[in-house]
Amino acid sequence: MNLLQRRRLADAIFNLAIYASVVVAAVPLVAIVYYVLRKGGSVISVAFLTRDIPVLSRSVGPGMGPAVVGTLLITGVATLMAVPLGILAAVYLNEYGKKNRLATVIRTMSDVMTGVPSIVMGLFIYTIWVLRYGYSGFAGSLALACLMLPIVIRSTEEILRLVPAGLREASLALGASRARTIVTVVLPAAVSGITSGALLAVARAAGETAPLLFTIGAARQVNTHAFSGANTALSAQIFRNAQLPFAGAQERAWGAALTLIVLVVLLTVLARIVTKRFSVPLR
């Protein structure tokens, strides 16, 4: 084999390896989606989404209503806390702090906070909230909000950076105050990007289990009170039921998994649509 042939062979092997890595990544995705659709699809019904969770784990049949309500309630309250605070923090970083030392520290620490394991957030809220006020949906929301905050900050700041300086200068030149410029010019120009970043953060939080394990307790009935009483969520129910040896419990876990994945994928797709449809052209 001459040199050219050897080089071509190495190149062919390399290309093959790269195509193989795509296949390797696609296989588990296809397998998981297939099983969740097949096993979850045969369980899901209106009754499954609305009825209470059976008292006996070994009984067969529907009931994930409380978990659906819990997931929506807990994630919703978390969103109400994390998104406004995250946007304000990002405004501080990009509009006020810029490159000063405090802003740099906050930016780095916010990135570090993105890497803090979600289970640590759960333990944290357990120590500062649950020990005093007991299990509640709100405690879970606090833990999820801690998780979402740095994600919202990061995505919002990246979008704010894209807003052209000319817009701000034009507004300031018209005599608008700094705050007014930000609220009426900068944020509206960035609204689609901010929304899609927030939706992705919500999608991430909705699927989280670890922060909820020590914060929301366990419930079998619908609890719409965020502040009082134990609650439950789809992810927590999947975790519990997956470990049980009963066919009925495992079926409910698959059904809950399908519900959760549909919810998360809907949010992700919505985020993409928002980015595409409603983006104000930034010139």
Partner: protein, 338 residues
């Protein structure tokens, strides 16, 4: 008419504080605007500071609750392998070992695949194949941890056990490999590592992709111009340029892997021992907290919170290091462009 500023100072000089004197207080819209301006500014600053406050509180409050366990065990908390809640022994070394081994397995599998995916998207793929591959990665990232765990415990674990058993009996007696594959179980360290690999692939891929995108075009074209094959171009131009960034990507993947809880808790098999049997059950820090917290009280609960503290410190260090490495690489790249 619009109230134009009367001076022609550059915008930078106008930006600080409340704007131009002539423009303030012209109408009802500006009433109290200075107060509102300052209030808004302080609200933004407070929200920014919240990040620091929360991080500080995490460390303070979890450490405080974990103190009984730290006092009880002393340094043994991280050096002893004796974890037995019934007898009041809380040595977490086996879990630290488990976390590191599972993360290492995940990285060994995920890093080559992720770099392959990133190269595929930046260098190899025809444009119409790029979007589907992006979807694959987005979806892998979107699937919740607990669903990976559910699939792992009910489908993947039982299926791969056949492969483990076959490997185990084929390699019995072989010095190193025989030990590693001994005592196979569906819920094992290896299963957890494989599932974790799938879970960290998206983050390693997307960062590697960003790193590859910073390689200057002329460097690649110089390689093409010399008649390099694609493999030689990537080896000679792309990879050397991206080394620092790739190390950062791997570190971020490691941080994610160490903190991943639920999927690992479901598939690792919960056996608190330092073992060389990677195909057998083990346990990791995050998963032991998830699995034992429910029935834990007193010192046991404090010890589990203590595991959270150790995990927090480890992941923060890994993340800071990763940021420094990528930051330095970016710095070098920015300098190199000139």
């Amino acid at each position: 008419m619009i109230a134009a500023p009367s001076t022609t100072r550059p915008p930078e000089a106008v930006l600080p504080e409340a704007g131009l004197p002539g423009a303030v207080g012209k109408g009802p819209l500006h009433q109290g605007s200075r107060l509102a301006d300052q209030t808004f500014r302080w609200m933004c600053l407070a929200s920014g500071l919240l990040v620091l406050v929360v991080l500080g509180l995490i460390l303070f409050s979890t450490t405080k609750e974990a103190l009984p366990a730290f006092r009880h065990e002393g340094l043994g908390f991280v050096t002893s392998t004796n974890w037995n809640p019934a007898t009041g022994h809380f040595g977490a070394l086996a879990f630290i070992y488990g976390t590191l081994v599972v993360s290492a397995i995940a990285l060994v599998i995920a890093v080559p695949v992720s770099i392959g995916l990133a190269l595929f998207m930046t260098e190899l793929a025809p444009p119409r194949l790029r979007t589907p591959v992006t979807y694959i990665i987005d979806l892998l990232a979107a699937i919740p941890s607990v669903v990976y765990g559910l699939w792992g415990i009910l489908v993947f674990g039982p299926q791969i056990l056949k492969l483990y058993t076959a490997l185990s009996s084929a390699l019995r007696g072989v010095p190193l490999l025989g030990t590693v594959t001994g005592g196979p179980a569906g819920r094992s360290i290896m299963t957890a590592g494989i599932i974790l690999a799938v879970m960290i692939t998206p983050i390693v891929t997307s960062i590697s992709k960003e790193v590859f995108a910073t390689v200057p075009r002329d460097q690649k074209e110089a390689a093409w111009g010399l008649g390099a094959t694609r493999f030689e171009m990537i080896r000679g131009s792309v990879l050397p340029y991206s080394r620092g960034g790739l190390v950062g990507a791997v570190m971020l993947g490691l941080g994610r892997a160490m903190g991943e809880t639920i999927a690992v808790a479901l598939v690792i098999g919960s056996s608190p021992a330092v073992t060389a049997h990677l195909f057998g059950p083990g346990d990791a820090m995050a998963s032991v907290v998830a699995n034992q917290f429910g029935e834990a009280t007193g010192t046991h609960r404090a010890a589990l919170i203590g595991l959270g503290v150790v995990l927090f410190v480890m992941t923060v260090l890994v993340n800071l290091l990763a940021r420094r490495i990528t930051g330095r690489a970016e710095h070098r790249l920015a300098g190199g462009k000139r």
